[in-house]
Amino acid sequence: MEFLQSGAGVRTVRLDPRTKIVLLFAVSTVLLLGGNGPAMFAVRTTMLLFPFALLAVSVRVRVAVLMLAAYLGTYALAVFAAPALSGVANAFVVASATVVSRFVPTLALAYFVFATTTVSEFMAAMARMRMPDWITIPLSVLFRFFPTLGEEARAIGAAMRMRGISPLRNGVTYVECALVPLMSCAVSIGEDLSAAALARGLGGPAKRTNVCAIGFGALDIAVIAVSAAATALLAASLTFPGAIA
């Protein structure tokens, strides 16, 4: 699975996980709240293109281009279809397109975050932020478990195709056929995973150390500055509508 290939070495952009959290927060806020006027339009556009740029420079140009194309395509569809259609058809096409174009940038950012953060870095960053085990451990397992579920789901999907089980022919049974083996496999992998992790001392009282070097560099500061500026501008434009126009 290409998603979540956390190569520790081949990364042109090395951001601290905490920077990524700040960025996630800023992009999410700006895209959600929007704001009006050309100035905010510029801010929104900047924050929106940020994820694609990060994806592109961190070895994943193809994915970045594909996602950007999806974004621009749906955006154009929404803008050009709006005047041409009316009533339900209008709402249907435009809203589908807006929903897609609204989520693609954040999904691109999520992709970037998952693909460039190793479990070790993540745990180190969480420790620096004094996050307790009960949030760090489940989150780190979550990171690792998505690709596992993907692998299992693919194998189960192949088995279903071989048996001719399809959503059209089997309807609700299809969901059951997919979920039951997926969950039983996930549970047994989870059991093994827990045993292996605990046998290697996870969750002990010793203060966990980390080999990976995390910390803020020039790039982190730049990203945080841009995020902070965008959020501040947004706050200003919301508090004093018209002041920034």
Binding site: A8, E152, R163, A197, R200, G201, L202
Partner: protein
């Protein structure tokens, strides 16, 4: 570490230990286990499936009773530490563990992080961890993989990462629970090398294993468990001298490749399908030449690609291949040769091109999905229904389907389990349910992906017998396998794969058995 241990004192000391699981499904309990293992020694735990050998390894690394809950009696000490009472993280300082399933035992997504994981949890100094990780990476030849996602590694590579991760904390005791189950011959040779290094570095090694041939000459003690109790103890030399009949009686797999080739089933090469046995009897004309009734299954221009860094690379390239109908072909070859890709392409499950011709009918990818069937390595992926009977009926058509389903279940010795939930069955029974699915939908070609990984002798023979039974029903079968004993007990042909191509095919008979032997022996020692 732990300098308080006297020179020569046992690293692992079990004294009359018993353990019973709280939940009945977690495993087999053990009783009266006593065992003493010194630095640099290897103890091999063997016995039939369900004899409790895995439980003994869990007692040694503390997972029983701290993870698998239950009641423990007696004492388990590792370098003086009372493992049954100490917390798991205390035990983790002394004991390194490698488990059966390579894909479910890693916590990180990157290789480097995974190797360092144990050290980080134990709070070692980062500079020290760096050094340990570098050492382990060198020792297990992981440098080319350091930047890879663990999800992109093969099973053998994952197992190497697991070994490196266990080594990095410099454990006094290394515990391995069926580490070779999912490995091919080449990777097993590396596993052997790792074990040799652990022994040389003064660690004690405890291995529970079915496939024991790769430990030939390494075991200092061999402990045979039966129903949770120690039934036999041998020194390494005594075990090597044990005669074959006795070994087979105890249900043990081959102790060495030579053993495998002396395997009693060998005398039954290409044996018991009476209707067409005149061409296959030991060491005579190849089956291909002497079978006029049905044309062979023919594959043409079978190719498959996989995507790597955005570009497509050819993973499979088989210009043409013929398989006699009702034959059983063993597909062998090193890890990464494209065996699984071939199997998926045959069943039309991956991105592939090419056709299959059977009885004059040409089948494209979509048709093959309906006509071929794969019994997957993890058979749980293909069990969907709430009872064995429903599982077989799913996809069957015709008014007499109930009748036919029951008759298939009878043939596969599953009729008594017709109402049981497929997931409540044993591994072997589940596998037969999958085979029943194939028979129920009249698939002329069935492919098996490593059907005997992690099986003891009795279960391996059971699979072989099932495959011979399926053969009697005229289905053609392909078996991906790394198991010489198994090949000799039920296969009629051998196809060798290398670099995505079929390098060689030959019918299996008395003379060609030696070619098979060469093949396996070549991997046996690096």
């Amino acid at each position: 570490m732990n300098g308080g241990v006297r020179e020569g004192a046992p690293v692992l000391l079990m004294d009359n230990v018993s353990f019973f699981y709280a939940g009945e499904r977690s495993g087999a309990g053990v009783a009266g286990i006593s065992l003493s293992l010194c630095a640099g020694e290897l103890a091999l735990l063997c016995g039939r499936s369900g004899c409790g050998k895995t439980t003994v390894t869990r007692l040694a690394n503390g997972l029983a009773p701290h993870f698998y809950e239950g009641t423990v009696a007696g004492s388990v000490r590792v370098c003086g530490l009372d493992v049954a009472r100490a917390e798991l993280w205390e035990t983790a300082r002394l004991v390194g563990s490698v488990f059966q399933n390579p894909k479910s035992q890693f916590y990180n997504v990157d290789v480097r992080g995974e190797v360092a994981f144990g050290c980080e949890n134990l709070g070692f100094d980062p500079a020290d961890i760096e050094r340990r990780v570098d050492d382990a990476v060198r020792e297990f030849d992981l440098a080319p993989l350091l930047d890879a996602s663990i999800f992109s590694l093969s099973g053998g590579q994952k197992q190497r990462v697991a070994c490196a991760s266990a080594t990095a904390t410099s454990p006094r005791l290394v515990v391995l629970d069926e580490p070779s189950s999912n490995l091919d011959f080449e990777t097993i040779a590396r596993l052997r090398a790792a074990i040799v290094r652990w022994k040389e570095s003064g660690a004690a090694v405890l291995v529970a294993e079915h496939r024991i041939h790769y430990l030939d000459g390494l075991a200092d003690q061999v402990i045979y468990l039966d129903e949770g109790r120690i039934a036999h103890r041998w020194s390494g030399e005594e075990f090597a001298r044990l005669d074959d009949a006795e070994r087979v009686r105890l249900g043990l797999r081959a102790r060495s490749v030579a053993d495998a080739l002396r395997f009693p089933e060998r005398s039954r090469l290409a044996p018991d399908v009476p209707s067409r046995s005149d061409d296959g009897r030991a060491g005579q004309t190849p089956r291909k030449a002497a079978k006029p009734e049905k044309p062979p299954i023919r594959f043409e221009k079978l190719t498959a690609d996989y995507r790597k860094n955005g570009a497509f690379e050819r993973a499979l390239d088989v210009p043409s291949l013929e398989l006699p109908q009702a034959s059983v072909t063993a597909l062998v070859g090193p890890c990464g040769a494209g065996k699984s890709t071939f199997a998926e392409a045959v069943c039309g499950l991956n991105r592939c091109e090419g056709t299959m011709e059977i009885d004059g009918e040409r089948l494209g990818k979509r048709d093959r999905r309906r006509r071929c069937f794969m019994v997957m390595q993890n058979v749980n992926h293909q069990l969907f229904a709430e009872s064995v009977l429903d599982e077989v009926l799913l996809g069957m058509t015709g008014d007499d389907r109930g009748q036919r389903a029951l008759s298939i279940l009878r043939d596969l010795d599953l009729d008594e389990l017709a109402q049981a939930h497929p997931l409540s069955l044993s591994g072997g029974q589940r596998q037969r349910v999958a085979i029943a699915q194939a028979l129920a939908t009249d698939r002329p070609l069935i492919v098996y992906d490593e059907p005997t990984s992690g099986l003891d002798l009795a279960h391996m023979r059971q699979v072989a017998e099932t495959i011979r039974g399926v053969r009697a029903r005229d289905a053609t079968q392909i078996v991906i396998t790394h198991d010489p004993e198994f090949v000799l007990s039920c296969c009629t042909h051998v196809a060798m794969m290398e670099n995505g191509r079929i390098a060689d095919t030959f019918p299996l008979c008395e003379e060609t058995a030696n070619r098979l032997a060469d093949l396996f022996l070549a991997y046996d020692r690096p």
